[in-house]
């Protein structure tokens, strides 16, 4: 499921609908950066510049009430992401379906009925998948949204402790820590068989079938690597390096040519042994005579 987020990130980067507000040039914009310097603790302007929204003026989203100091606006009064991100951008990115998913998720059902996109996706630092150099980076970005709440801490130490507690809760998995580090939370915590990563399920409904991922048609292989695999395949040749180099999954880390080769070898050995046995039987009478 985390793959869907990667897909979303990737496709979004190529088909992103830049809001019309971008046309509002900085000439008329309030001088935000006079106060919000690079060392500002509220926003990292360097990271913001690299984000998907980096080309937008601050006032694209921070509309009313931000032109004076102190700012008089509140978050609730700010425009919603869906004011720009609406409809179906592509077959795999349908903001209306994403909204439906969020509304049906455990987050909206049990945590906050007004659960917003920005609870998980930082509008200032959001980077599309196409700008990420590898799968690990995409996974890290995807999981950061979850761990920000589910393994939150005020310092690195407390974050580590919280992550340790999270690992304990996932002891059903072999190598739980590795699974949590190398896998996307939404892979197991969203409905299987649906291309949604926003309908977060309750703990009791989380995916527990290991073979959903640990199989030839892995949930991960068919989703998370869907867009990156052709690129790496073209760069590195026939070996499925996207799987070998980005994940180790028993049952999924397979190469069909090697598997066919192994099967052919096994068949040859069995045929050889069978033929030898038949030959011994056929020559039995000859041996008795001699």
């Amino acid at each position: 499921m985390r793959a869907v987020s990667t897909i979303i990130l990737f496709l979004a980067s190529t088909t992103w609908i830049v809001p019309a507000v971008k046309a509002q040039t900085s000439e008329k914009s309030p001088p935000c950066k006079e106060c919000h310097q690079p060392r500002d603790t509220t926003i990292d302007l360097t990271l913001f510049a690299r984000s998907v929204h980096g080309d937008l003026d601050c006032t694209s989203c921070h509309t009313d009430g931000f032109d004076k100091f102190p700012h008089t606006s509140t978050r609730a009064a700010m425009p919603d992401c869906r004011d720009c991100h609406t409809g179906s951008v592509s077959p795999t990115i349908d903001f209306d379906k994403i909204t439906e998913g969020v509304k049906a998720s455990v987050h909206a059902q049990l945590v906050d009925p007004a659960f917003r996109c920005t609870n998980c996706h930082s509008p200032h630092y959001f980077i599309p998948g196409s700008r990420m150099t590898n799968v690990s980076e995409a996974l890290h970005a995807a999981n950061k949204s979850c761990l920000g709440c589910h393994a939150a801490g005020e310092s690195t130490t407390t974050e580590d402790l919280a992550f340790g507690n999270l690992v304990e809760k996932h002891r059903l998995l072999f190598h739980a820590e590795l699974h949590l580090q190398r896998n996307a939370c939404v892979a197991c915590h969203t409905p299987r068989g649906e291309q949604t990563v926003h309908l977060i399920l309750p703990k009791s409904e989380a995916l527990k079938d290991c073979s959903a991922c640990h199989a030839k048609n892995s949930l991960l292989a068919t989703k998370i690597y869907l867009l990156l695999a052709p690129k790496q395949h073209a760069e590195h040749g026939w070996v499925n390096v996207i799987v070998f180099n980005n994940a180790y999954l028993t049952g999924a880390t397979r190469n069909r040519w090697l598997d066919w080769g192994a099967l052919a070898l096994a068949v040859l050995v069995l045929l050889g042994v069978t033929a030898h046995g038949i030959g011994r039987l056929a020559f039995a009478s000859f041996r008795r005579r001699s």
């Binding site: 079938d209 030839k216 049952g251 096994a266 042994v273 020559f283 000859f286």
Partner: protein, 235 residues
């Protein structure tokens, strides 16, 4: 452990059958995990992993028993490779399997007190037990403790490379086992060598006459070895 003079002492037979049972278990579960399908898997992925890990740990202990038996209980002497084992030994033995066995030719390297394995056996047993098995064991443990592996080895993800080597070494040993079991039927009767490996001795006196030909007796005497009459071949 008492040092037994028999080529098939109790410890060896316990190791052999324990090893066989564990390896078959590992083969079945390993294959099931390798070709895992979204449910229903025959075993269930989690159960498969649990059995595979347990059998792997036990197999390591059995391998330690094998090493101890070879080093301390005298079994190593059967693995000594002599110059004649290579040439003409390997060729003569291969020729026997390819042709002589069909015609009832005498075994070129009958078992004796000092020779339990023919040259081909020595070669394959050495490769399997002292090369493939250690590789299989080390890669198996590395997959059991993946955190200990280097992130990258030979340009590949460490754990991926380890898995690749583990899988195809396992395949090689499995194919060896198929041939091993088949050649086990080439005794005086199809079951003779299996009984021998189970009990440590052959209880079929009639099997002697089919094996001990005058030429073989003569050959053994010429080589200065005392022939053992209970079987004509073993793999």
């Amino acid at each position: 452990m008492k040092h037994e003079s028999s080529p098939y002492p109790l410890w060896l037979r316990i190791w052999h059958w324990g090893n066989a049972f564990l390896f078959v278990t590992l083969l079945i579960t390993g294959l099931d995990l390798h070709i895992s399908r979204p449910s229903p898997s025959p075993l269930g992925f989690r159960t498969g992993v649990l059995i595979h890990n347990t059998a792997g740990i036990l197999l390591t202990l059995f391998y330690c028993l094998f090493l101890y038996g070879n080093l301390r209980l005298g079994n190593w002497r059967y693995y000594r490779v002599l110059a004649e084992d290579i040439a003409p030994g390997l060729f003569r033995q291969a020729g026997y399997y390819l042709w002589g066995i069909f015609l009832g030719s005498p075994h070129p390297y009958p078992e004796s007190e000092n020779r339990k394995f023919n040259p081909l056996q020595k070669f394959f047993y050495l490769v399997v037990m002292y090369l493939l098995f250690p590789v299989l064991t080390v890669t198996g443990w590395s997959l059991l403790l993946p955190g200990q592996l280097p992130a990258v080895m030979f340009g590949m993800r460490g754990i991926g490379l380890s898995d690749l080597v583990h899988t195809y070494t396992g395949l090689s040993v499995s194919l060896f086992m198929v041939v091993h079991v088949y050649l086990g039927t080439t005794g005086t009767t199809p079951g003779a060598l299996f009984r021998l490996m189970w009990s440590g001795h052959d209880n079929e006196p009639e099997s002697i006459s089919t094996v001990r030909t005058p030429s073989l007796e003569l050959q053994s005497k010429v080589q200065g070895e005392v022939p053992i009459a209970h079987s004509k071949d073993r793999t």
